[in-house]
Symmetry: C2
Subunit: 466 residues, 2 copies
């Protein structure tokens, strides 16, 4: 085996999940990976920080949904991590995403190993994670597709299982004998007795070996993604895969297309804490409890209750006389569910009346390349937004026929162009953009600029001074 | 008995309750009587409409807490009902309030009967209520203090009970033998068997006879309230009782001070639907249920649940896998309680950490003589409000050293004075009030004026035009 002194591992972060399972906190516009549920940061930020270290390329590849591009860009900016963001024009499941990541990694180095990780899992022990990756390097360099298998602590029915076999080249990696889908309870108990491991959904392998294998096992996926990658175009910080080509890919998971079929699979067993945080019950299990088993994130209060979990960042939740309950409150929605019943949140959201569901699934916060904004109020004749613009952020020239805008800068400084008038405005200055006026905004200061915008959906009329 | 052809009954509406029992909807700043819980209107509006008819003085007397004066004024304005609003400078319980109402009624007519009613009860059948009042007129004119006793439908432990005796002068009024406090369950069951009635807390009597009786039974209350009434001052639409004098009154309920002790009590038995809506369980009981016993007011959804009550006007509440539960969500707070457990809401709110409680008990909406405003956002450096000003409403001259204000008129028209500049502004006009500037606002239009105000807590700086 020909092992270079410093193999480069390129992290490929899969950020494709839409995620209504943690509704109402997760939304189509802000799925699970962008939530702060456990640890210091959002799950994707923790994932990015976990994939750093001596063997790692400091510039990860993130494969993300087109609609989440600004959220991903914002995380990278906040962490001061460089990285390439590949945008999927539509969801084609994880096999296509891994192929896109592998192709991009090959462009950096034909010998690259890629560390394929989900953006929305929780692994608090970064050092243990790094050690497991290092243990997987030799088999990966030898062309094996290495899975990370978690020593199971319960007969969970929500995970896939891996059966390890003979030790490879002195270990700790072992052959992977069997890769199986989520079992029923009885089967899961049997798996525990027989030494199966949980499939963590994280993998290490050589991009070249993987693509070679994928060409055999999933040729239609490789063909479609290769074509969409060749025709991709760079747009700001984003690499946009070609839409028609990508659309031609079969919609199939990496596990099903590759790992269940390949003869080159290996597994490294690990025993660190891991969760895919797939339900509110999982979040509740990670939380610190008081002597009654109650856990409160944010503003909550429990009276005469046990095993109550409250997540309420902006509102106050008070629970009285109840046990085994999960309450999650956001500014516009509240979930109240029985503990152990939260796997059904997806169905619950799916059953909402369509008029309600659309609003319930979109977020009050919208992200853009220049920053983000939050809706404070929406009525038939006006709308109020709080707008945050990054230092250097520019809102391109635009005009709105149907509304006038009134801005009050409450923090920072901006260069504002309205029509042919250019102004520098600072805190506590208000400006009006008449409907139809072309305008452009740039944060020329060194701090986040915060603007309150009042949009009025009426025609402007003259002021009479008496 | 000397019975005039058309006795005038002056309704005395007691609006003194503070009411945290329906938290989070009821707040110190907006207690139960101002909520829309059942029927077409708020409870106080329904009460005012119930107290109209041929024998009734069309101008009721409302005895209210000083802090609720604008809410009361707004209800009267909306219903186009005249009426005198007497303000209690502090809470001294119902005996003092009834004395104040009786004194004021005597000022209108020395022979007045007064119909003392709670502002926050639910009696949907206005005709039946009117009939019961007419039935109480003869004994009231004869100097009896007539209570209205509800035929009980359950052995409720939350109400006082009345034991009727011999029929008076051909009925339907009867002597009141016993007036008893809230019983335990066993006693309540005995009361039902023995023909007791619920005390509805509504009464009819002559103001003069009542005051005469009160002078004997509660002389300190009468002395204090008489003094505070003599020294009262008219302020806009309000009669403000004198604070030091009123403070001297003992804090005692009308039931305890008068009804339990007087020998002049009578009772008219009625069988109309009545509720004091004292708990969320009571509200839930009044609501229309689906086949699973679920009731939703506002935006709610129940999946696999039974006997779920949801009240959510502005947010969406989704409940999954739970039974016998009450969820009440407002913009800033959520209550989740077991059905049958909502009598403890007062204790729950009392147990909130003090920092949280203050916010939880005040409302986002604040009422003023000129209209009301609602807080849309409050941050360290700015605040955003939606302000509603009635036609003709005037915000008096004022200035704020610590903040500048930026106003955008989204509806209606205003006359605005800022410093020595007077302007007429219309929809879609923005004006800035620099910190320290004296300003005044008047709605000179014929519709509600709606203003978005952005307050910035920073010093204004000059605009540079480039």
């Amino acid at each position: 085996m020909n092992m270079p002194v410093s193999p480069i591992i390129i992290p490929v972060i899969l950020s494709g999940g839409a995620g209504t399972r943690l509704w109402p906190l997760s939304r189509n516009t802000r799925p699970k990976q962008f939530l702060h549920l456990h640890g210091e940061n959002t799950l994707i930020a923790e994932t990015l920080l976990r994939c750093r270290g001596e063997l790692m390329d400091p510039n990860p590849i993130i494969v993300a949904a087109e609609s989440h591009r600004f959220l991903v860009a914002e995380v990278l900016r906040e962490l001061e991590i460089g990285g390439d963001i590949i945008l999927e024009p539509m969801r084609r499941d994880s096999c296509a995403a891994v192929v896109a990541g592998a192709l991009h990694a090959m462009g950096r180095s034909r010998d690259a190993l890629i560390l394929v990780v989900s953006a929305d899992h929780d692994i608090p022990d970064k050092a243990a994670f790094g050690n497991s990756v290092r243990a997987a390097v030799p088999p990966a360099l030898a062309g094996q597709l290495v899975a990370f298998g978690i020593e199971p602590v319960t007969p969970a029915t929500g995970y896939g299982y891996l059966l390890p076999g003979a030790v490879i080249a002195g270990g700790p990696a072992r052959e992977l004998i069997k890769f199986v889908e989520k079992p029923d309870r009885e089967t899961a108990e049997k798996y525990l007795r027989e030494g199966y491991l949980w499939n963590s959904g994280n993998f290490l392998f050589s991009a070249k070996s993987f693509l070679h294998e994928a060409e055999t096992l999933a040729p239609a996926v490789v063909a479609a993604v290769e074509q969409s990658y060749k025709s991709a175009r760079q747009d700001h910080d984003f690499l946009r895969l070609d839409e028609p080509a990508f659309a031609a890919s079969p919609q199939i998971s990496f596990d099903f297309a590759i790992m269940e079929k390949t003869s080159k699979a290996a597994v490294v067993a690990v025993s660190y804490a891991w969760s895919d945080i797939g339900t509110w019950d999982a979040v509740a299990n990670l939380a610190t409890k008081d002597e009654n088993g109650n856990a409160i994130v944010g503003h909550g209060h429990v009276r005469q209750g046990k095993n109550v979990f409250i997540h309420a960042e902006q509102t106050l939740v008070a629970v009285d006389g109840l046990t085994d309950i999960v309450v999650v409150a956001t500014q516009d929605s509240v979930l109240v569910a029985r503990r152990g019943h939260t796997e059904q949140v997806k169905e619950l959201v799916g059953a909402l009346p369509s008029a309600v569901a659309e609003e319930a699934l979109s977020s009050l916060q919208q992200h853009r390349l220049w920053g983000h904004y939050e809706l404070l109020e929406k009525r038939h004749d006006h709308e109020v937004r709080r707008v945050h613009i990054f230092p250097g952020g520019t809102i391109d020239r635009q005009s709105h026929k149907d509304r006038a805008e009134h801005w009050v800068l409450v923090s920072g400084q901006l260069e504002v162009v309205i029509g042919d008038r250019k102004m520098q405005i600072v805190e506590n200055i208000a400006v009006t953009v008449p409907s139809g006026s072309v305008h452009q905004v740039k944060n020329t200061g060194s701090i986040m600029a915060i603007l309150i915008e009042v949009h009025t959906f009426v025609e402007p009329k003259p002021v009479r001074v008496g």
